[in-house]
């Protein structure tokens, strides 16, 4: 069996080598301008940042923002929907020109991709059902309960680094979900007691489920959200950053926030 394991590892290494060899020297910006089209990835299952409207079209804060960025780049916008976990790999692998999906800066992610300037700042929240009898006066208090989080998010990172690694929260008491709504379902079913997430989508959840309430709100893991760009592509980053600053100065982003995040 050991022989096969080694072979599998070797196969994966060969794959990794191929990635290393195929590094491009030209900027993705040139490619975008030549094709007059920008290929942007998002995971359209995260309201109000990116989701589908009643007609099945993509909508949300990030979607509108990206549409405006593409317009100002003078190119057509083509969306590629992918699960959140696949997006960074797709940008790093050259399958996408960039990705907007409520990404926070993260050191691990920064190793394979770049981040634009922040276009907005988000907060974290803990949410419980009315059946919850405990108290959460400080964020560390959640370690006493069964906690759920969306896997691969910065909230997952915060819980793992601050509570699990330090031994406060037993690994068995942390449930990681592929998506926030799956976690919300388990919260309602009582499999978890506290759900940690980004404040804005949590607020949307609470608005839909009167039984839920936010017990803590603050900036823990998250903070600024950015667009994910190909690694080391200075020209593309400069162009995207320029447009983001322009949109902030014009108040366009604040208007979007009001449109999508207001209660």
């Amino acid at each position: 069996m050991k022989k096969y394991l080694l072979l599998t590892v070797a196969l994966i290494l060969v794959g990794a080598l191929l990635v290393g060899c195929a590094s491009e020297s030209t900027s993705v910006l040139d490619k975008i301008q030549k094709a007059e089209k920008v290929l942007v990835g998002t995971s359209a299952d995260y309201p109000p940042y990116e989701y589908l409207d009643d007609a099945g079209n993509k909508t949300g804060f990030d979607i509108d923002l990206m549409a405006e960025i593409a317009k100002r780049m003078g190119v057509e916008l083509e969306w590629v929907d992918m699960p959140f976990d696949s997006l960074v790999a797709a940008v790093a692998g050259g399958k996408l020109d960039m990705s907007i999906s409520c990404f926070n800066y993260d050191e691990e992610r920064d190793k394979t991709v770049d981040f634009s300037e922040a276009y907005y700042t988000t907060e974290d929240a803990f949410v419980v059902t009315s059946a919850f009898t405990g108290t959460v006066s400080a964020p560390e208090d959640v370690a006493n309960y069964k906690v759920g989080v969306q896997s691969g998010t910065v909230q997952d990172g915060w819980l793992t680094d601050n509570l699990v690694t330090s031994g406060l929260l037993p690994e068995a008491n942390l449930s990681r979900y592929e998506r926030v709504d799956q976690a919300a379902l388990d919260l309602a079913n009582g499999r978890i007691e506290i759900l940690m997430g980004d404040y804005v989508p949590i607020q949307a959840l609470v608005a839909q489920n009167p039984d839920l309430q936010v017990v803590y709100r603050g900036v823990l893991s998250t903070g600024p959200i950015n667009i994910v760009l190909p690694d080391g592509d200075v020209e593309l980053k400069a162009e995207v950053d320029r447009i983001i600053k322009e949109l902030q100065a014009e108040g366009f982003i604040d208007e979007l926030a009001l449109k999508y995040f207001s209660e």
């Binding site: 096969y4 072979l7 599998t8 196969l11 994966i12 794959g15 990794a16 191929l18 990635v19 060899c21 195929a22 990835g41 359209a44 299952d45 995260y46 309201p47 989701y51 589908l52 409207d53 009643d54 099945g56 590629v80 929907d81 992918m82 699960p83 976990d85 696949s86 790999a89 797709a90 790093a92 692998g93 050259g94 399958k95 998506r179 709504d181 799956q182 379902l185 839909q208």
Partner: protein, 214 residues
């Protein structure tokens, strides 16, 4: 959003689900059959190599192979998500289908091969005209099982962003917050796909059955 819209949104992913299956299953059958023939009639060393192939690809979760092919290997050759997904599933399936065909080939008694040689057929002729036709019939029941597995595994290409049934159910579930209904709709569609396929294969099995065989 009414229920009809909801269901039709998810169901429109069926084209992609069927497309992935129609690439993965036949390509797996083609590779699997060739490898099975090599395994059974190709000598000891070939058999070892085939055994290694089967062990490796049955040992890797399809989704891992999918990621390797799409994100690592296909960087240079620019394979689309749809093709990378379909071909990965085809390769994984080929290992299983090879075992199915191999089992079927071995179930045909070796005496028949000898008898065929005795009446003057060459080895190739004997395999093609005597063993293979019987083996194909024997392989249909386990193969319909594999067909059902490939239909269901086709949902894995959602990880690469191919908007097939499962991914569509996730998207509509998230935006409407009616995820139970979304996943149930997906389950119903998958069930009917698998049901129809296995029924068709059972009919084929009956049609191909040799009347005199008990």
């Amino acid at each position: 959003m009414d229920f009809g819209q909801f269901l039709s949104y998810i169901a429109s992913g069926t084209v992609l689900t069927v497309g992935v299956t129609l690439i993965a299953l036949p390509s797996g059958l083609l590779i699997g059959t060739i490898l099975a023939l090599l395994y059974v009639y190709g000598g000891k060393i070939t058999a070892r190599i085939m055994n290694l192939y089967s062990t490796i690809f049955r040992g890797i979760p399809p989704v891992v192979l999918l990621f390797i092919l799409f994100f690592a290997v296909s960087k240079g050759i620019n394979l689309s998500a749809f093709w990378a997904g379909s071909l990965s599933l085809g390769v994984v399936s080929s290992a299983y289908q090879m075992e199915i065909v191999r089992g079927a080939l071995l179930s045909v008694s070796g005496d028949q091969l000898m008898a065929a040689r005795a009446v003057g057929l060459s080895r190739m002729q004997a395999i093609r005209s005597v063993v293979l036709p019987q083996a194909v019939r024997l392989a249909i029941p386990p193969w319909s099982n594999e067909a059902a597995i490939v239909i269901k595994d086709s949902s894995l290409v959602y990880a690469l962003g191919v908007p097939e049934i499962l991914r569509r159910a996730q998207l509509i579930g998230a935006s409407s917050q009616r995820y139970l209904l979304a996943y149930l709709s997906a389950a119903v569609i998958y069930f009917f796909l698998v049901f129809a396929t296995t029924r068709l294969l059972t009919l084929l099995e009956k049609k191909l059955a040799i009347p005199s065989n008990p």
